[in-house]
Subunit: 254 residues, 8 copies
């Protein structure tokens, strides 16, 4: 491949990707504002590890460019900083369990993409991670349904929720579990849609911090299942929405 | 939920799942022969760690029940044992790079499901794992396309193959990489279909046995990507095919 | 507690323990021949890591002292060395899957203790470890029943074997599983007898060598379950037999 | 096994298990209120990682359904929330060392099951974990006896307590130890009842957080011993009570 | 080599090293005040883990001996203690992101060494580590240029900054990245100057605390790159400056 | 940055990088034959994990394109396959300690770049890794000098070799060490040129496989030092040569 | 060995050990008050992880039994609790760096044992661990000498202190070091007395919490050296004093 | 400290150390032939990882310089190479369990140093490591006594050997143990001489390769004990001999 060919390929790729727009913010961030057009998924601002002021600056710029900012893992200081910089007419939503923040301009509306994402959690303490995933999937345009605390120590808790998800015709099922992480394996053995296992850090002793659940999901003897990182609610929601969006795109064809 | 309700839910679930047939083989295995009907994916026989004679017995029983047996990680002894038990009219195929074995009855035909699975490998040594995944996806009824040795140390090697996959309209892209496992992150940052990262054990020193690649893929700052276990070609092929099959189901609707 | 009191306690303990007899063998081993009387469980000779000649010497001395020798993890060289040293009238039994060797004097008979040990394996490759446990439990005097390949990827395979074990009124159930190690959790959620999880090294990638299964069993959200080390068939059989023996002791009371 | 047979097996299993009743609480938890009837062990509410309000709601519902709630790892906020929701006539008990909370209706009485659980700790700092186990075993109906600080650095401290437990005819001995975790090995070498090793996180440097103790107990060269997870007082109490209950069931037969 | 020869070698080595001067401070520290002359790099005082009073004492002594003190990882208490001990005419500079403190005598001037160090960070949260490195390199006499948030999830963010650094003719490029740590690999595949990868602890789940990034950088399939420890801003700045200084030494020759 | 600007940046970058030529080989490899022009370092073929036939094919193609092939970690089968495919007039060199293979066309000559790379090993068993690094540095055009077995258990062994390297005016010193990996720290504390630590897998017990040495080098309290992966001779040679080449470029200016 | 022989051996052992006296304290601790007579080293009360009230109770009982209590890792709450329970005439000493507490009855005097323990630390932050060791060694009756901040980044800092220790004729040298832990290796290569390496948790990134230093010391290629756990000041002081005491015993013979 | 002072200190140190003689061998090794005079312990040649020819060359040179060569971990190829290079009049001794080789000139005699080293192993498989240590201690001039297979699963096996060692007045006791590594803890709780724990790799599952034993020994709650690396027989023998030699030096004084 010669240099000129290389340029041609890039040009093609760029058309396919449509937009590579960037927005530089005070030399601390380069917002990839074209990502939503290019990939169908918005840039999500991880508040954890960033200065509250920086998060607020980035979020405001994001709303101005795209009509919406999605912030994850926000603590009180982040929330306060963001709130204080909101322009009139912007709406702010805060979800305390998952610590997600949504900021939207007055006219912003999420465009449905026709995909359906189901969610299950093994325990009550897995809810924050599941909520994080659900918000991301919903903001990307998917329909979602979630059932909590259906874990494997009493398998009969699982059947009713699973039946509901299959009847609803979910395109993908996120299964959120800590401890021994067995639930995704059991679910993937029963359904004929892809399953994404989401290990949570809810655990103790050997294999703590979610390592047991992650290992169990990677080792799973059920096929048809992939995995995201521990407590990776944002990543789980995004990949599930990517899968469902692809299905939705064809489902909605006349 | 009372006991009678529990029975009713199970009955519903069973209908959805259609078939739970089992086949017991000489008290060493209980073949889940209904799995293909239930989940749309066949039971795959992992030869590694099993006696050659047992593998041959299980494989033969599988072909008799379902028309086909898929065997992974077969060594010479496994291959020989299987070959010696083949009935007249059966076809056997062996792929030496990935050590997969296919045995099919004379009349067996894979039914296309309309899904499209793309594959990329970072290096030459990642080919065996990619081939394993490709065989599984193809046997489940997907179309596949694969490009090898397109890794990140010279990014310009990536553009042409990626352009081809996007033009072909792949439903999901498997990205197979060892060492630092950066390729899936780079690809997922560029495309608008789900990416499945497949770490391989090709690596050395700190993070050897594929742990660096696995960790890098789980940590990826690109959204829209999930992961399977190290060298998990079978699992990767199965989950990619599950995703593509779901899309194919709608794509092919009149 | 004064010194004289200390001596008194020890004397009492010794009576309870009945026998502390030792047998020194060529300055390489000190056989605890009294262990069976003291603990109700025989010393088991681990062949792995010992010279074939040493194993044979120790085994012969064991049969001479107690009427029986149990050898685990014997390879061909160990087996050959033991065989060549057997006295006339001794019986030798070799189990190739688990590589256990039993040597018994002509008159030796295992005394039943009334306990019942059930065994389940998740896969076909877990059989060697289960067999190791079963032999130990049987040699300690328990009745045993084992069902193989009932793993969680198709839960319906589990119900029939489990029903059989509960009807038979097992005192304890050993559940042997590799990979994600979910089976003991599922079983312990369903039965009202103690469960002992036995992780096996059958696994790959992250959590390989049985670490995922071990972690999952230790993290299990099902109560009523304890764990032994990876591939610890001998340890599993011994602790299960200790539990069952204790029950058997009371069950058989007139 | 055909579908109808599968249904029959499940029905049998359900009878054996008697009750699968569930209680859904505000879409955050599905209480397995039938677990006590099914398994002979109550659901225990892990407060750690749950919102105080959620814990209180779940606990109150539990008492209403079963007459008792057992809460583990409660901090001051959990305790306060639970206390504020207690109905008149309910009794609340708080154990500060182990942070266990018991809530019982006025008429509730634990039914003795005839089993005997002995407990030993290696050090003073292991007492909280031992107390957690003891409370669980007692609430399941077992008699218990505990001796603290009998560790191996001065073996003579062990003999008197051990003599007492053997005289009392314990059915199982829980041995709680941190640091090098040698005590269960020493005890299991001396007694003829099953031993359950309980590693605690009391440790430092290499093998910290209880990993050294866990590893040592899993590697133990004493037979007749199994293990639970680090600081797993609840799990240890439950499995010991399951073992003792099984013995007690026969011991009490006329 | 005889003893006398050994002495001669040492004498030569000392001449090369010029100065081995030490300054003992209240029996808590032995300042290597000759290091700057010997190695061309100053001793840097790590405040973390030291008493505020000790840090202040050491810093003051350092300024008195060499005209400057560089303190890293200073918290408020350290800063306050240092400030309170500053002599009239000393200048103190505090950088809050990286928590570096510089104290200089009135007449102190950094001598330029002609080297050029470029810096890139993958994300906004990597800035503190990059700043630490930049301060060290600048205090050693190098020119520096830094660009932030150019990470691989949107590769097009990288091209402009990289072009600038190459035009400016950087002698070495520090690439600071957390999460999956792919950026140094991508950069090293494109440039013809040495790259130093600096992993940061910005990460979560498996491979957290920067281990994934470190492993990925060590495994990198791009050649021409070495690595420092996680969050090792000081080490990164020092080694980059050593490289650039060596180049600068020749670049500035007439 | 708009799309057209993005294209412009890329074009600039390409000029800087000069050549992006690729050579595809039988769909198993995409040779980055432009790498040497672009980065000043050749593609090095890692034989380990590749089929002998594939290695030979890639090597031959490499020589045809660039006049030279460098192969690392070749076993006897690789060597034989390469040898059998050599064209008349090609020269093959094999270094048995490091298992490096060089194949060159008759007219090929390495162009000196003016850089100087010094090497030290702590022990005799570290020689293979050092040799690997030395070959790479030499093939990139550097002068090299190496001294072996100068480790820290007898520090006086170090002084003479170190004096020689400093007199020779090395631009960078590679220090290769296994076990406790202390040598690079000691050397970096004494010299005023950059040091690259190269941990080797020569070690045992805790920290085996070179992890202790790697950790020690990353933790080093000597400044002016960076690290490559365990046994990473190729990477070490390449990065050292990149540093030395940069210096050499200016050293040789008139 | 028959039972009666076993009793005889124990009796002999007891005489050798002289005293096995125990003191039980409120069922939370069994003080091994005979340890000092038996082993020549006192029981040391680890405050960390114990309730302040319990520590005070144990300490008071210890002073009453033996004339002295040594408490390690005491925080303010422990110190306050101990102080409030001190009897008139008792002396309390608190060392803030190492957080050791000594409580002695009025007449208590440490008996010198003739042994000499030398101490070196690599850095200023290693002082607390060294002080802990020094206090223990001194309380056991040894003479001690300590030199701080003599680490390997500037080897010339080491020579003077080492010369002093050798002149003083130390029986054993404790070398306390964090980070890369190279100092004990360098020292052990130079002296002809036993060296005990004491790794500290002063470190960061890969090998943090002292694991790099521990690994480096265990891997050390210098002979004549053993190791204690990370931050194990008490253990280091005790073993060094045991060695020195043994020498002192003979040194002081007329 | 000025430069001239530095030289003076070194000169003093050298006198203390007496000899720093080196012997360079074909540029592969620098023998520290002065080590025995300087440290009282000979250089020991680790054969593992070295070419047989190199080992033979080094060994021969060693005998020529010092009258003796000690080689550890020799395989058959090493042994053969050494044997073939032996000069007339040299004696070669090979110990097959520990794979140690001794080569001595005709007149060579080990000089007794008056120290006494006791050894205990927990199991039969620990004998090779113990033998390695014993040979080293004996070659350094100590008297030794060893007892095998006295492990903690039956504590009564320990008493007789321990009594013998105490009667013999051992200066230090090496305790060699794999698996759970409890024996050194039990021994150190009973004796008043220093104990050195030697973990062996005899182990399986979690904590395999000796990591459980190492961790247990480092965590030991018995004081008066230090540790060497896993399977570190040579290191154990050397440090024990250093301790015993120091005692012996004073014991033998008139």
């Amino acid at each position: 491949m010669a240099v000129s060919e290389f340029q041609r390929s890039l040009r093609t790729l760029q058309k396919k990707n449509r937009m590579l727009a960037l927005k530089e913010i005070s030399n601390i961030a380069r917002l990839d504002v074209g990502r939503e057009i290019r990939k169908g998924l918005p840039e999500i601002i991880l508040a954890e590890g960033k200065e509250p002021g920086d998060v607020a600056k980035i979020a405001r710029s994001m709303v101005e460019q795209t009509g919406r900012a999605i912030i994850s893992r926000a603590n009180r200081a982040h929330l306060k900083a963001v709130r204080s910089r909101i322009r009139d007419g912007y709406r702010l939503e805060f979800m305390p369990r998952s610590r997600m923040v949504l900021v939207k301009s007055g006219s912003y509306k999420t465009k449905p993409n026709g995909g359906r994402v189901g969610l299950l959690t093994a325990g009550t303490s897995d809810i924050p991670v599941a909520e994080e995933a659900e918000v991301v999937a919903r903001e990307m345009g998917c329909d979602t349904r979630a059932y909590y605390d259906v874990g494997v120590a009493g398998l009969h808790r699982l059947f009713e929720p699973l039946k509901q998800l299959l009847r609803w015709d979910a395109d993908v099922i996120l299964v959120v579990a800590g401890r021994e992480g067995a639930l995704p394996t059991v679910v993937a053995g029963m359904v004929d849609v892809p399953v994404v296992g989401v290990p949570t850090s809810r655990s103790y002793g050997f294999g703590e911090k979610g390592l047991a659940a992650l290992a169990a999901m990677l080792q799973s003897c059920s096929l048809g299942m992939s995995v995201v990182n521990i407590d990776g609610g944002v990543g789980a929601g995004a990949v599930a929405a990517m899968i469902a969006k692809r299905v939705g795109q064809f489902r909605r064809r006349p």
